[in-house]
Point group: C2
DNA sequence: ATTATTTAGTTTATAATATAAACTACTTTA
DNA sequence: TAAAGTAGTTTATATTATAAACTAAATAAT
């Protein structure tokens, strides 16, 4: 009946990040931070979790002498998101 | 951008319970337990939380000498669910 | 008849998560 | 060169979810 909801994605912040990364393909740490209204610490932790799950790739570089963290979604991330949405729909559409 | 997802509903088990109660209007503890595959303990706790939030009503009676717990969704519960779904959609529909 | 098993849960302990506070390491500006 | 700002990370804490252990009674077995 109810399929398991991927716990990596069933998190407000991580879901927001993935949602953003799906539409923009690549995003800087601060862009994600602004869009999600998350604290730096929380965002940092959740990005690591998404990376560990293989859902995003994180690239570290420098921009104007400052560290720059850029994220983009992976194929596994896209797949996981699509699957999550598919499963979630079982929960949220009222069956008459 | 991303609206807050009601933490009472952003829980796999509680969301499944609410989802069921919206379609059936009234359900026994064991019905919910079977449908959600939850353990009794977990279900008991989550039902209490939904009750505390005012999203469901719990009625206790006896059936064939055994205790019987019956749940039904409240108006607040229906509203909260609809709002949750509305907000959630911002996260799960890919904006081109 | 009293012991064991089953039903229908609740309570509580523990494991997992989310979040914010504190910290690191550097750069820029005063 | 001291203070303030940037861009994060690490760690401590608060919150949640979950399962294990328990309660209370009914039914079935010996």
């Amino acid at each position: 009946m109810f399929k398991e909801l991927d716990p990596i994605l069933h998190s407000q912040l991580r879901l927001a990040v993935i949602s953003l990364l799906i539409s923009v393909k690549e995003a800087e740490f601060n862009y994600l931070k602004e869009k999600t209204k998350a604290s730096s610490g929380n965002l940092s932790v959740q990005l690591q979790k998404l990376k560990e799950a293989g859902y995003i790739e994180i690239e570290k570089s420098f921009k104007d002498n400052f560290p720059l963290t850029t994220c983009k979604i992976s194929n596994a991330g896209i797949e996981a998101f699509e699957n999550y949405v598919k499963n979630l729909k079982q929960y949220i559409q009222v069956k008459k």
